[in-house]
Protein backbone atom coordinates (compact mmCIF):
# COMPACT_ATOMS: atom_id res chain seq x y z
CA UNK A 1 0.00 0.00 0.00
CA UNK A 2 2.76 2.43 0.89
CA UNK A 3 4.42 1.61 -2.34
CA UNK A 4 1.26 2.30 -4.28
CA UNK A 5 0.78 5.64 -2.52
CA UNK A 6 4.32 6.62 -3.30
CA UNK A 7 3.97 5.70 -6.95
CA UNK A 8 0.65 7.49 -7.25
CA UNK A 9 2.05 10.59 -5.62
CA UNK A 10 4.95 10.55 -8.03
CA UNK A 11 2.61 10.13 -10.96
CA UNK A 12 0.60 13.08 -9.72
CA UNK A 13 3.72 15.21 -9.43
CA UNK A 14 4.84 14.18 -12.89
CA UNK A 15 1.41 15.09 -14.21
CA UNK A 16 1.43 18.46 -12.49
CA UNK A 17 4.89 19.16 -13.81
CA UNK A 18 3.90 18.21 -17.32
CA UNK A 19 0.72 20.26 -17.18
CA UNK A 20 2.57 23.29 -15.93
CA UNK A 21 5.08 22.92 -18.74
CA UNK A 22 2.36 22.67 -21.35
CA UNK A 23 0.56 25.71 -20.02
CA UNK A 24 3.71 27.75 -19.64
CA UNK A 25 5.03 26.91 -23.06
CA UNK A 26 1.71 27.54 -24.72
CA UNK A 27 1.18 30.90 -23.15
CA UNK A 28 4.72 32.21 -23.12
CA UNK A 29 6.43 30.88 -26.16
CA UNK A 30 3.70 30.72 -28.72
CA UNK A 31 2.38 34.26 -28.82
CA UNK A 32 5.85 35.53 -29.54
CA UNK A 33 6.00 38.63 -27.47
CA UNK A 34 3.86 38.28 -24.39
CA UNK A 35 4.36 41.84 -23.34
CA UNK A 36 3.18 43.07 -26.72
CA UNK A 37 0.10 40.91 -26.47
CA UNK A 38 -0.70 42.24 -23.02
CA UNK A 39 -0.03 45.77 -24.00
CA UNK A 40 -2.18 45.52 -27.06
CA UNK A 41 -1.63 46.78 -30.56
CA UNK A 42 -1.82 50.41 -29.57
CA UNK A 43 0.88 50.25 -26.90
CA UNK A 44 4.05 52.20 -27.53
CA UNK A 45 7.44 50.47 -27.39
CA UNK A 46 8.25 52.09 -24.06
CA UNK A 47 5.00 50.88 -22.57
CA UNK A 48 5.67 47.37 -23.82
CA UNK A 49 9.17 47.51 -22.35
CA UNK A 50 7.75 48.65 -19.03
CA UNK A 51 5.39 45.67 -19.00
CA UNK A 52 8.25 43.41 -19.85
CA UNK A 53 10.24 44.72 -16.90
CA UNK A 54 7.34 44.40 -14.48
CA UNK A 55 6.65 40.83 -15.45
CA UNK A 56 10.29 39.90 -15.31
CA UNK A 57 10.22 38.80 -18.93
CA UNK A 58 13.79 39.79 -19.58
CA UNK A 59 15.00 37.01 -17.38
CA UNK A 60 15.84 33.78 -19.24
CA UNK A 61 12.78 31.65 -19.87
CA UNK A 62 13.64 28.63 -17.72
CA UNK A 63 14.16 30.95 -14.78
CA UNK A 64 10.79 32.56 -15.39
CA UNK A 65 9.24 29.12 -15.37
CA UNK A 66 10.85 28.10 -12.11
CA UNK A 67 9.97 31.42 -10.58
CA UNK A 68 6.34 30.99 -11.54
CA UNK A 69 6.22 27.38 -10.40
CA UNK A 70 7.72 28.33 -7.07
CA UNK A 71 5.15 31.05 -6.75
CA UNK A 72 2.33 28.62 -7.41
CA UNK A 73 3.35 26.34 -4.61
CA UNK A 74 3.91 29.11 -2.11
CA UNK A 75 0.73 30.90 -3.10
CA UNK A 76 2.54 33.97 -4.36
CA UNK A 77 1.23 34.50 -7.83
CA UNK A 78 1.92 38.18 -8.08
CA UNK A 79 -0.55 40.73 -9.25
CA UNK A 80 -2.32 41.07 -12.52
CA UNK A 81 -0.71 43.45 -14.95
CA UNK A 82 -4.07 44.52 -16.23
CA UNK A 83 -6.08 45.01 -13.07
CA UNK A 84 -3.39 45.28 -10.41
CA UNK A 85 -5.17 42.94 -8.01
CA UNK A 86 -3.47 40.02 -6.35
CA UNK A 87 -3.93 36.96 -8.49
CA UNK A 88 -3.92 34.50 -5.64
CA UNK A 89 -6.46 36.50 -3.69
CA UNK A 90 -8.79 36.75 -6.62
CA UNK A 91 -8.57 33.05 -7.38
CA UNK A 92 -9.38 32.27 -3.76
CA UNK A 93 -12.31 34.64 -3.84
CA UNK A 94 -13.80 33.32 -7.06
CA UNK A 95 -13.31 29.75 -5.90
CA UNK A 96 -15.91 30.42 -3.23
CA UNK A 97 -18.49 30.37 -5.98
CA UNK A 98 -17.12 27.71 -8.29
CA UNK A 99 -16.32 25.05 -5.71
CA UNK A 100 -19.74 25.05 -4.01
CA UNK A 101 -21.35 25.15 -7.44
CA UNK A 102 -19.41 22.06 -8.49
CA UNK A 103 -20.40 20.09 -5.41
CA UNK A 104 -23.98 21.25 -5.62
CA UNK A 105 -24.11 20.00 -9.23
CA UNK A 106 -22.46 16.73 -8.24
CA UNK A 107 -25.05 16.14 -5.55
CA UNK A 108 -27.87 16.75 -7.99
CA UNK A 109 -26.26 14.49 -10.57
CA UNK A 110 -25.87 11.66 -8.06
CA UNK A 111 -29.36 12.04 -6.63
CA UNK A 112 -30.79 11.83 -10.12
CA UNK A 113 -28.56 9.22 -11.67
CA UNK A 114 -28.13 6.59 -8.96
CA UNK A 115 -31.70 5.64 -8.09
CA UNK A 116 -33.03 6.19 -11.61
CA UNK A 117 -30.18 4.27 -13.20
CA UNK A 118 -30.69 1.27 -10.93
CA UNK A 119 -34.44 1.40 -11.45
CA UNK A 120 -34.15 1.64 -15.23
CA UNK A 121 -31.95 -1.44 -15.23
CA UNK A 122 -34.00 -3.49 -12.80
CA UNK A 123 -37.36 -2.81 -14.42
CA UNK A 124 -36.07 -2.66 -17.95
CA UNK A 125 -39.23 -3.55 -19.77
CA UNK A 126 -41.52 -1.23 -17.88
CA UNK A 127 -42.66 1.92 -19.63
CA UNK A 128 -41.18 4.38 -17.11
CA UNK A 129 -37.75 2.81 -17.61
CA UNK A 130 -37.90 3.14 -21.35
CA UNK A 131 -39.06 6.74 -21.12
CA UNK A 132 -36.21 7.43 -18.72
CA UNK A 133 -33.69 5.86 -21.04
CA UNK A 134 -34.84 7.97 -23.93
CA UNK A 135 -34.81 11.09 -21.78
CA UNK A 136 -31.35 10.17 -20.61
CA UNK A 137 -29.93 10.03 -24.09
CA UNK A 138 -31.62 13.24 -25.14
CA UNK A 139 -30.52 15.07 -22.01
CA UNK A 140 -26.93 14.08 -22.68
CA UNK A 141 -27.21 15.61 -26.14
CA UNK A 142 -28.53 18.96 -24.98
CA UNK A 143 -26.00 21.79 -24.97
CA UNK A 144 -25.55 23.19 -21.48
CA UNK A 145 -26.10 26.73 -22.66
CA UNK A 146 -29.47 25.92 -24.12
CA UNK A 147 -30.54 23.95 -21.07
CA UNK A 148 -29.56 26.91 -18.93
CA UNK A 149 -31.46 29.33 -21.09
CA UNK A 150 -34.55 27.15 -21.04
CA UNK A 151 -34.21 26.86 -17.29
CA UNK A 152 -34.07 30.61 -17.00
CA UNK A 153 -37.17 30.98 -19.14
CA UNK A 154 -39.03 28.41 -17.08
CA UNK A 155 -37.96 29.11 -13.53
CA UNK A 156 -37.11 32.75 -13.68
CA UNK A 157 -39.16 34.46 -16.36
CA UNK A 158 -42.35 32.44 -16.13
CA UNK A 159 -42.43 31.03 -12.61
CA UNK A 160 -40.24 33.58 -10.89
CA UNK A 161 -39.02 31.03 -8.39
CA UNK A 162 -35.29 31.40 -8.83
CA UNK A 163 -32.94 34.24 -9.71
CA UNK A 164 -31.48 34.10 -13.15
CA UNK A 165 -28.43 36.21 -12.72
CA UNK A 166 -25.74 37.05 -10.27
CA UNK A 167 -24.64 36.10 -6.84
CA UNK A 168 -25.21 38.01 -3.58
CA UNK A 169 -22.68 40.76 -3.24
CA UNK A 170 -21.72 39.83 0.29
CA UNK A 171 -21.03 36.27 -0.77
CA UNK A 172 -21.90 33.58 1.73
CA UNK A 173 -22.98 35.94 4.50
CA UNK A 174 -26.55 34.93 3.71
CA UNK A 175 -26.17 31.23 2.85
CA UNK A 176 -29.76 30.80 1.72
CA UNK A 177 -29.57 33.58 -0.82
CA UNK A 178 -26.28 32.22 -2.09
CA UNK A 179 -27.75 28.75 -2.51
CA UNK A 180 -30.75 30.20 -4.32
CA UNK A 181 -28.44 31.86 -6.79
CA UNK A 182 -26.59 28.64 -7.38
CA UNK A 183 -29.64 26.43 -7.71
CA UNK A 184 -30.58 27.01 -11.32
CA UNK A 185 -26.96 26.79 -12.51
CA UNK A 186 -26.39 23.65 -10.46
CA UNK A 187 -29.59 22.11 -11.81
CA UNK A 188 -28.49 22.82 -15.36
CA UNK A 189 -25.09 21.18 -15.15
CA UNK A 190 -26.25 18.61 -12.63
CA UNK A 191 -29.04 17.30 -14.81
CA UNK A 192 -26.90 17.08 -17.92
CA UNK A 193 -24.03 15.34 -16.17
CA UNK A 194 -26.64 13.32 -14.34
CA UNK A 195 -27.93 12.07 -17.67
CA UNK A 196 -24.47 10.86 -18.61
CA UNK A 197 -24.03 9.24 -15.20
CA UNK A 198 -27.51 7.70 -15.46
CA UNK A 199 -26.54 5.80 -18.60
CA UNK A 200 -23.42 4.56 -16.87
CA UNK A 201 -25.25 3.43 -13.73
CA UNK A 202 -27.91 1.70 -15.81
CA UNK A 203 -25.28 -0.15 -17.80
CA UNK A 204 -23.36 -1.13 -14.67
CA UNK A 205 -26.51 -2.33 -12.96
CA UNK A 206 -27.50 -4.39 -16.00
CA UNK A 207 -24.12 -6.09 -15.81
CA UNK A 208 -24.65 -6.68 -12.12
CA UNK A 209 -28.06 -8.23 -12.72
CA UNK A 210 -26.56 -10.72 -15.14
CA UNK A 211 -23.46 -11.27 -13.04
CA UNK A 212 -22.64 -14.75 -11.90
CA UNK A 213 -21.99 -13.86 -8.31
CA UNK A 214 -25.39 -12.26 -8.03
CA UNK A 215 -26.95 -15.50 -9.20
CA UNK A 216 -24.83 -17.35 -6.66
CA UNK A 217 -26.17 -15.07 -3.96
CA UNK A 218 -29.67 -15.96 -5.08
CA UNK A 219 -28.78 -19.62 -4.74
CA UNK A 220 -27.93 -19.06 -1.09
CA UNK A 221 -31.37 -17.74 -0.31
CA UNK A 222 -31.60 -14.14 -1.45
CA UNK A 223 -34.53 -13.00 -3.51
CA UNK A 224 -33.71 -11.61 -6.94
CA UNK A 225 -33.88 -8.06 -5.68
CA UNK A 226 -32.09 -8.87 -2.45
CA UNK A 227 -29.20 -10.47 -4.29
CA UNK A 228 -28.92 -7.48 -6.59
CA UNK A 229 -28.90 -5.01 -3.73
CA UNK A 230 -26.59 -6.87 -1.40
CA UNK A 231 -24.19 -8.32 -3.96
CA UNK A 232 -24.63 -6.42 -7.18
CA UNK A 233 -24.96 -2.79 -6.21
CA UNK A 234 -21.75 -2.50 -4.18
CA UNK A 235 -19.90 -3.28 -7.41
CA UNK A 236 -21.90 -0.59 -9.16
CA UNK A 237 -21.05 1.82 -6.37
CA UNK A 238 -17.38 1.08 -6.83
CA UNK A 239 -17.63 1.75 -10.54
CA UNK A 240 -19.34 5.05 -9.86
CA UNK A 241 -16.61 6.04 -7.43
CA UNK A 242 -13.96 5.30 -10.00
CA UNK A 243 -15.86 7.52 -12.42
CA UNK A 244 -16.24 10.30 -9.89
CA UNK A 245 -12.99 11.99 -10.74
CA UNK A 246 -14.00 12.29 -14.35
CA UNK A 247 -17.43 13.50 -13.36
CA UNK A 248 -16.11 16.28 -11.18
CA UNK A 249 -13.75 17.35 -13.94
CA UNK A 250 -16.70 17.53 -16.29
CA UNK A 251 -18.73 19.53 -13.78
CA UNK A 252 -15.91 21.97 -13.18
CA UNK A 253 -15.57 22.56 -16.86
CA UNK A 254 -19.31 22.87 -17.29
CA UNK A 255 -19.15 25.57 -14.65
CA UNK A 256 -17.09 27.75 -16.99
CA UNK A 257 -19.89 28.10 -19.49
CA UNK A 258 -22.64 28.16 -16.89
CA UNK A 259 -21.02 30.91 -14.84
CA UNK A 260 -20.95 33.02 -17.94
CA UNK A 261 -24.60 32.32 -18.62
CA UNK A 262 -25.78 33.11 -15.11
CA UNK A 263 -23.29 35.89 -14.43
CA UNK A 264 -21.82 34.13 -11.45
CA UNK A 265 -18.55 35.63 -10.17
CA UNK A 266 -16.65 32.35 -10.29
CA UNK A 267 -13.37 31.08 -11.67
CA UNK A 268 -14.83 30.21 -15.05
CA UNK A 269 -16.19 33.64 -15.74
CA UNK A 270 -13.00 35.18 -14.50
CA UNK A 271 -11.01 33.04 -16.88
CA UNK A 272 -13.10 34.01 -19.88
CA UNK A 273 -12.85 37.66 -18.94
CA UNK A 274 -9.09 37.50 -18.50
CA UNK A 275 -8.61 35.89 -21.86
CA UNK A 276 -10.57 38.70 -23.39
CA UNK A 277 -8.35 41.15 -21.52
CA UNK A 278 -5.24 39.39 -22.79
CA UNK A 279 -4.06 38.99 -19.21
CA UNK A 280 -1.92 36.02 -20.11
CA UNK A 281 -0.03 35.71 -16.86
CA UNK A 282 -3.20 35.50 -14.84
CA UNK A 283 -4.71 33.06 -17.30
CA UNK A 284 -1.60 30.95 -16.91
CA UNK A 285 -1.96 30.65 -13.17
CA UNK A 286 -5.72 30.15 -13.25
CA UNK A 287 -5.45 27.39 -15.83
CA UNK A 288 -2.80 25.68 -13.80
CA UNK A 289 -4.81 25.85 -10.59
CA UNK A 290 -7.82 24.33 -12.33
CA UNK A 291 -5.78 21.58 -13.95
CA UNK A 292 -3.98 20.87 -10.69
CA UNK A 293 -7.29 20.46 -8.90
CA UNK A 294 -8.52 18.04 -11.53
CA UNK A 295 -5.31 16.00 -11.44
CA UNK A 296 -5.33 15.94 -7.64
CA UNK A 297 -8.94 14.80 -7.58
CA UNK A 298 -8.10 12.04 -10.01
CA UNK A 299 -5.31 10.87 -7.72
CA UNK A 300 -7.57 11.05 -4.69
CA UNK A 301 -10.22 8.96 -6.40
CA UNK A 302 -7.58 6.39 -7.35
CA UNK A 303 -6.42 6.14 -3.76
CA UNK A 304 -9.94 5.84 -2.35
CA UNK A 305 -10.80 3.23 -4.94
CA UNK A 306 -7.69 1.33 -4.04
CA UNK A 307 -8.50 1.44 -0.36
CA UNK A 308 -12.04 0.20 -0.78
CA UNK A 309 -11.71 -2.47 -3.44
CA UNK A 310 -10.27 -5.65 -1.94
CA UNK A 311 -9.22 -6.85 -5.38
CA UNK A 312 -6.77 -4.02 -5.62
CA UNK A 313 -5.26 -4.48 -2.22
CA UNK A 314 -2.09 -6.45 -2.08
CA UNK A 315 -2.10 -8.65 0.97
CA UNK A 316 1.08 -8.74 2.96
CA UNK A 317 1.50 -12.38 3.87
Amino acid sequence: MIRFLAVRALTLLAGLFLASLIIFISLRLLPGDVAQVIGGTSASPTQVEAIRERLGLNVPLPLQYLDWLGGVFTGQLGSSVVSGTSIAAEIAEKAQVTVPLTFYSLTIALIVALPLGVFAAYRRQALPSRVLSVLGVVAAAVPAVWAGLLGIVLFSTWLGWLPSQGFPRDGWADPLAAIRSLTLPALTIGLIEGAVLFRFVKSATLSAIGAEHVRTAMSRGYTRLGALVRHGLPGVGLSVISMLGLQIAGLLVGAVVIEQLFSLPGLGRMLVFDVGQRDLIKVQSTLFVLTAVILALGALVDVVHRLIDPRLRVEEQ
Binding site: T11, A14, G15, L18, A19, I22, I23, S26, L27, L30, P31, V137, V138, A140, A141, V142, P143, A144, V145, W146, L149, L150, I152, V153, T157, R199, K202, S203, L206, S207, I209, G210, A249, G250, L252, V253, V256, V257, Q260, L261, L271, V272, V275, G276, R278, L280, V283, L287, L290, T291, I294, L295, G298
Partner: protein, 298 residues
Protein backbone atom coordinates in the same frame (compact mmCIF):
# COMPACT_ATOMS: atom_id res chain seq x y z
CA UNK B 1 -10.85 -10.95 -40.18
CA UNK B 2 -11.76 -7.63 -41.74
CA UNK B 3 -14.87 -5.55 -41.30
CA UNK B 4 -17.64 -6.50 -43.66
CA UNK B 5 -18.72 -2.97 -44.53
CA UNK B 6 -21.67 -3.94 -46.66
CA UNK B 7 -23.08 -6.06 -43.89
CA UNK B 8 -22.58 -3.38 -41.28
CA UNK B 9 -24.32 -0.69 -43.27
CA UNK B 10 -27.19 -3.01 -43.97
CA UNK B 11 -27.55 -3.82 -40.30
CA UNK B 12 -27.30 -0.18 -39.43
CA UNK B 13 -30.11 0.97 -41.66
CA UNK B 14 -32.34 -1.77 -40.34
CA UNK B 15 -32.14 -0.70 -36.70
CA UNK B 16 -34.43 2.16 -35.62
CA UNK B 17 -31.60 4.07 -33.98
CA UNK B 18 -29.32 3.70 -36.95
CA UNK B 19 -32.03 4.75 -39.36
CA UNK B 20 -32.86 7.85 -37.31
CA UNK B 21 -29.21 8.78 -36.98
CA UNK B 22 -28.50 8.37 -40.67
CA UNK B 23 -31.61 10.33 -41.58
CA UNK B 24 -30.70 13.28 -39.36
CA UNK B 25 -27.07 13.32 -40.39
CA UNK B 26 -28.02 12.97 -44.02
CA UNK B 27 -30.31 15.95 -43.64
CA UNK B 28 -27.51 17.89 -42.00
CA UNK B 29 -25.07 17.18 -44.79
CA UNK B 30 -27.67 17.97 -47.41
CA UNK B 31 -28.61 21.27 -45.76
CA UNK B 32 -25.00 22.30 -45.49
CA UNK B 33 -24.41 21.47 -49.13
CA UNK B 34 -27.55 23.18 -50.36
CA UNK B 35 -26.81 26.26 -48.28
CA UNK B 36 -23.68 26.82 -50.34
CA UNK B 37 -25.80 27.46 -53.37
CA UNK B 38 -29.15 28.61 -52.11
CA UNK B 39 -30.73 30.04 -48.99
CA UNK B 40 -34.30 31.21 -48.41
CA UNK B 41 -33.05 34.61 -47.28
CA UNK B 42 -29.83 36.39 -46.37
CA UNK B 43 -28.36 35.08 -43.13
CA UNK B 44 -26.14 38.09 -42.54
CA UNK B 45 -28.14 41.02 -43.69
CA UNK B 46 -29.32 43.11 -40.79
CA UNK B 47 -32.47 45.08 -41.16
CA UNK B 48 -33.56 46.53 -37.85
CA UNK B 49 -36.92 47.51 -39.18
CA UNK B 50 -37.68 43.87 -39.78
CA UNK B 51 -36.60 42.63 -36.37
CA UNK B 52 -38.66 40.08 -34.47
CA UNK B 53 -41.04 39.13 -37.21
CA UNK B 54 -43.18 36.03 -36.76
CA UNK B 55 -42.84 33.11 -39.16
CA UNK B 56 -44.14 34.01 -42.61
CA UNK B 57 -43.70 32.82 -46.20
CA UNK B 58 -40.71 35.10 -46.66
CA UNK B 59 -39.21 34.29 -43.28
CA UNK B 60 -40.03 30.69 -42.51
CA UNK B 61 -38.96 30.90 -38.88
CA UNK B 62 -39.24 34.63 -38.49
CA UNK B 63 -36.41 37.09 -37.89
CA UNK B 64 -34.06 37.75 -35.00
CA UNK B 65 -33.08 40.86 -33.09
CA UNK B 66 -31.21 42.34 -36.05
CA UNK B 67 -33.87 41.47 -38.56
CA UNK B 68 -31.93 38.58 -40.02
CA UNK B 69 -33.78 35.57 -41.39
CA UNK B 70 -33.58 32.81 -38.81
CA UNK B 71 -34.16 29.94 -41.21
CA UNK B 72 -31.26 31.06 -43.38
CA UNK B 73 -29.01 31.41 -40.38
CA UNK B 74 -29.90 27.94 -39.23
CA UNK B 75 -29.10 26.50 -42.63
CA UNK B 76 -25.87 28.41 -42.94
CA UNK B 77 -25.04 27.29 -39.42
CA UNK B 78 -25.23 23.73 -40.63
CA UNK B 79 -22.13 24.46 -42.69
CA UNK B 80 -20.17 25.36 -39.60
CA UNK B 81 -21.38 22.24 -37.85
CA UNK B 82 -20.33 20.02 -40.71
CA UNK B 83 -16.93 21.68 -40.89
CA UNK B 84 -16.35 21.30 -37.17
CA UNK B 85 -17.50 17.70 -37.16
CA UNK B 86 -15.36 16.69 -40.10
CA UNK B 87 -12.36 18.59 -38.81
CA UNK B 88 -12.69 17.13 -35.34
CA UNK B 89 -13.13 13.64 -36.75
CA UNK B 90 -10.02 13.88 -38.90
CA UNK B 91 -7.80 15.48 -36.28
CA UNK B 92 -8.91 13.32 -33.37
CA UNK B 93 -8.93 10.22 -35.53
CA UNK B 94 -5.41 10.71 -36.74
CA UNK B 95 -4.03 11.76 -33.37
CA UNK B 96 -5.91 9.03 -31.58
CA UNK B 97 -4.82 6.27 -33.90
CA UNK B 98 -1.22 7.40 -34.06
CA UNK B 99 -0.89 7.77 -30.30
CA UNK B 100 -2.65 4.47 -29.72
CA UNK B 101 -0.42 2.53 -32.08
CA UNK B 102 2.81 3.98 -30.76
CA UNK B 103 1.87 3.72 -27.10
CA UNK B 104 0.67 0.15 -27.50
CA UNK B 105 3.14 -1.32 -29.93
CA UNK B 106 6.04 1.07 -30.19
CA UNK B 107 9.50 0.81 -28.68
CA UNK B 108 9.49 0.68 -24.90
CA UNK B 109 11.32 3.93 -24.50
CA UNK B 110 8.52 5.76 -26.26
CA UNK B 111 5.66 3.88 -24.66
CA UNK B 112 6.01 4.90 -21.02
CA UNK B 113 6.31 8.65 -21.50
CA UNK B 114 3.51 8.58 -24.06
CA UNK B 115 1.21 6.87 -21.61
CA UNK B 116 1.87 9.53 -18.99
CA UNK B 117 1.39 12.24 -21.60
CA UNK B 118 -1.94 10.77 -22.63
CA UNK B 119 -3.10 10.57 -19.02
CA UNK B 120 -2.21 14.19 -18.36
CA UNK B 121 -3.81 15.41 -21.57
CA UNK B 122 -6.95 13.48 -20.75
CA UNK B 123 -7.15 15.23 -17.42
CA UNK B 124 -6.87 18.52 -19.27
CA UNK B 125 -10.49 19.26 -20.14
CA UNK B 126 -11.11 20.08 -23.76
CA UNK B 127 -12.75 23.36 -22.91
CA UNK B 128 -9.76 24.56 -20.94
CA UNK B 129 -7.50 23.50 -23.75
CA UNK B 130 -9.62 25.48 -26.18
CA UNK B 131 -9.55 28.53 -23.94
CA UNK B 132 -5.81 28.27 -23.68
CA UNK B 133 -5.38 28.00 -27.43
CA UNK B 134 -7.82 30.85 -27.96
CA UNK B 135 -5.82 33.00 -25.56
CA UNK B 136 -2.73 32.35 -27.61
CA UNK B 137 -3.98 32.25 -31.15
CA UNK B 138 -7.14 34.26 -30.90
CA UNK B 139 -10.58 32.79 -31.32
CA UNK B 140 -11.86 31.11 -34.43
CA UNK B 141 -13.00 27.79 -35.79
CA UNK B 142 -9.50 26.39 -36.33
CA UNK B 143 -8.89 26.77 -32.60
CA UNK B 144 -12.11 24.91 -31.89
CA UNK B 145 -11.22 22.10 -34.26
CA UNK B 146 -7.65 21.86 -32.96
CA UNK B 147 -8.59 21.74 -29.31
CA UNK B 148 -11.45 19.35 -29.84
CA UNK B 149 -9.20 17.24 -32.04
CA UNK B 150 -6.48 17.01 -29.42
CA UNK B 151 -8.86 16.62 -26.51
CA UNK B 152 -10.83 13.78 -28.04
CA UNK B 153 -7.80 12.40 -29.80
CA UNK B 154 -6.22 11.43 -26.51
CA UNK B 155 -9.46 9.91 -25.27
CA UNK B 156 -9.70 7.85 -28.43
CA UNK B 157 -6.03 6.97 -28.02
CA UNK B 158 -6.61 5.54 -24.60
CA UNK B 159 -9.54 3.38 -25.66
CA UNK B 160 -7.97 2.17 -28.88
CA UNK B 161 -4.71 1.44 -27.12
CA UNK B 162 -6.44 -0.87 -24.65
CA UNK B 163 -8.17 -2.59 -27.54
CA UNK B 164 -4.92 -2.98 -29.49
CA UNK B 165 -3.18 -4.56 -26.54
CA UNK B 166 -6.03 -6.98 -26.05
CA UNK B 167 -6.09 -8.05 -29.68
CA UNK B 168 -2.33 -8.24 -29.79
CA UNK B 169 -2.41 -10.93 -27.15
CA UNK B 170 -4.73 -13.14 -29.17
CA UNK B 171 -3.50 -16.40 -30.62
CA UNK B 172 -4.05 -15.55 -34.24
CA UNK B 173 -1.61 -12.68 -33.98
CA UNK B 174 0.95 -15.09 -32.64
CA UNK B 175 0.22 -17.34 -35.58
CA UNK B 176 0.70 -14.47 -38.00
CA UNK B 177 4.03 -13.61 -36.41
CA UNK B 178 5.11 -17.22 -36.60
CA UNK B 179 4.16 -17.24 -40.26
CA UNK B 180 6.70 -14.49 -40.77
CA UNK B 181 4.50 -11.47 -41.31
CA UNK B 182 6.23 -8.17 -40.69
CA UNK B 183 5.02 -5.90 -37.89
CA UNK B 184 3.60 -3.44 -40.36
CA UNK B 185 1.73 -6.18 -42.21
CA UNK B 186 0.25 -7.49 -38.98
CA UNK B 187 -0.77 -3.99 -38.04
CA UNK B 188 -2.36 -3.28 -41.34
CA UNK B 189 -4.07 -6.58 -41.96
CA UNK B 190 -5.01 -7.82 -38.53
CA UNK B 191 -4.71 -5.32 -35.70
CA UNK B 192 -6.23 -2.21 -37.23
CA UNK B 193 -9.24 -3.86 -38.87
CA UNK B 194 -10.11 -5.50 -35.58
CA UNK B 195 -10.03 -2.24 -33.70
CA UNK B 196 -12.29 -0.69 -36.32
CA UNK B 197 -15.50 -1.28 -34.31
CA UNK B 198 -14.22 0.39 -31.16
CA UNK B 199 -12.55 3.15 -33.12
CA UNK B 200 -15.60 3.97 -35.18
CA UNK B 201 -17.86 4.10 -32.16
CA UNK B 202 -15.47 6.39 -30.32
CA UNK B 203 -15.17 8.62 -33.35
CA UNK B 204 -18.90 8.94 -33.62
CA UNK B 205 -19.10 9.90 -29.96
CA UNK B 206 -16.31 12.41 -30.43
CA UNK B 207 -18.15 14.05 -33.30
CA UNK B 208 -21.23 14.51 -31.16
CA UNK B 209 -19.19 16.00 -28.36
CA UNK B 210 -17.40 18.24 -30.85
CA UNK B 211 -20.68 19.92 -31.70
CA UNK B 212 -21.39 20.55 -28.03
CA UNK B 213 -17.91 21.92 -27.60
CA UNK B 214 -18.30 24.26 -30.55
CA UNK B 215 -21.63 25.46 -29.22
CA UNK B 216 -20.15 26.22 -25.84
CA UNK B 217 -17.04 27.85 -27.24
CA UNK B 218 -18.91 29.99 -29.74
CA UNK B 219 -21.18 31.05 -26.92
CA UNK B 220 -18.18 32.16 -24.89
CA UNK B 221 -16.80 34.01 -27.85
CA UNK B 222 -13.90 31.71 -28.57
CA UNK B 223 -15.41 29.98 -31.53
CA UNK B 224 -16.90 31.20 -34.71
CA UNK B 225 -16.42 34.90 -35.41
CA UNK B 226 -19.59 37.04 -35.27
CA UNK B 227 -19.78 37.26 -39.03
CA UNK B 228 -20.19 33.53 -39.40
CA UNK B 229 -23.56 32.19 -38.32
CA UNK B 230 -23.04 29.19 -36.08
CA UNK B 231 -25.67 27.58 -33.92
CA UNK B 232 -23.67 28.30 -30.78
CA UNK B 233 -23.45 31.94 -31.70
CA UNK B 234 -27.18 32.06 -32.31
CA UNK B 235 -27.72 30.83 -28.77
CA UNK B 236 -25.56 33.61 -27.45
CA UNK B 237 -27.41 36.22 -29.44
CA UNK B 238 -30.77 35.06 -28.22
CA UNK B 239 -29.81 35.30 -24.58
CA UNK B 240 -30.21 39.03 -24.22
CA UNK B 241 -33.83 38.85 -25.29
CA UNK B 242 -35.12 35.68 -23.70
CA UNK B 243 -37.46 37.49 -21.38
CA UNK B 244 -39.27 39.14 -24.29
CA UNK B 245 -38.77 36.68 -27.11
CA UNK B 246 -38.20 33.29 -25.50
CA UNK B 247 -39.05 31.30 -28.62
CA UNK B 248 -35.98 32.39 -30.53
CA UNK B 249 -33.90 30.27 -28.20
CA UNK B 250 -35.61 27.14 -29.40
CA UNK B 251 -34.34 26.80 -32.94
CA UNK B 252 -30.58 26.59 -32.58
CA UNK B 253 -30.99 24.47 -29.45
CA UNK B 254 -33.20 21.99 -31.23
CA UNK B 255 -30.87 21.61 -34.17
CA UNK B 256 -27.84 21.14 -31.93
CA UNK B 257 -29.60 18.59 -29.73
CA UNK B 258 -30.93 16.64 -32.69
CA UNK B 259 -27.56 16.47 -34.38
CA UNK B 260 -25.67 15.46 -31.24
CA UNK B 261 -28.37 12.90 -30.51
CA UNK B 262 -27.93 11.52 -34.01
CA UNK B 263 -24.21 11.01 -33.41
CA UNK B 264 -24.80 9.31 -30.05
CA UNK B 265 -27.38 6.97 -31.57
CA UNK B 266 -25.10 6.34 -34.51
CA UNK B 267 -22.40 5.24 -32.09
CA UNK B 268 -24.82 2.94 -30.27
CA UNK B 269 -26.15 1.46 -33.48
CA UNK B 270 -22.66 1.00 -34.88
CA UNK B 271 -21.59 -0.84 -31.78
CA UNK B 272 -24.49 -3.24 -32.16
CA UNK B 273 -23.99 -3.66 -35.87
CA UNK B 274 -20.28 -4.31 -35.70
CA UNK B 275 -19.58 -6.00 -32.43
CA UNK B 276 -21.09 -9.46 -32.24
CA UNK B 277 -20.30 -10.35 -35.82
CA UNK B 278 -16.68 -9.45 -35.72
CA UNK B 279 -15.80 -10.83 -32.35
CA UNK B 280 -14.40 -14.33 -32.16
CA UNK B 281 -16.98 -16.82 -30.93
CA UNK B 282 -16.50 -18.68 -27.67
CA UNK B 283 -14.62 -17.67 -24.56
CA UNK B 284 -10.93 -17.28 -24.16
CA UNK B 285 -10.72 -19.49 -21.10
CA UNK B 286 -12.13 -22.40 -23.05
CA UNK B 287 -14.99 -22.69 -20.61
CA UNK B 288 -18.31 -23.88 -21.85
CA UNK B 289 -20.87 -21.27 -22.59
CA UNK B 290 -24.04 -22.08 -20.72
CA UNK B 291 -27.32 -22.36 -22.55
CA UNK B 292 -28.41 -18.88 -21.73
CA UNK B 293 -25.64 -16.96 -23.43
CA UNK B 294 -25.14 -13.35 -22.62
CA UNK B 295 -28.31 -11.55 -21.72
CA UNK B 296 -27.14 -8.20 -20.53
CA UNK B 297 -27.13 -5.40 -23.05
CA UNK B 298 -26.65 -1.81 -22.14
Amino acid sequence: MSARRGGTLHHLVRSPRGAFALAVLGLLALTALVSLFWLPGNPNQSNISEAWQSPSPTHWLGTDSSGRDIASRLMAGARVTVLVVLGAAIVSGVIGLALAVVSALGPRRLREPLIILIDVLIAFPTLLLAIMLAAVFGSGLPVVVASVGIGFGVQIARVVRAELRQINAEDFILAAKAAGLSRWAILRMHLLPNTAPVFTVQLSLAMGLAILAEAGLSYLGFGAPPSVPSWGLMLEESQAFISIHPLVVLWPGITITLTVLAFYLLGDALREAMDPRLRFGGRRDGGERNDLGDRSEA
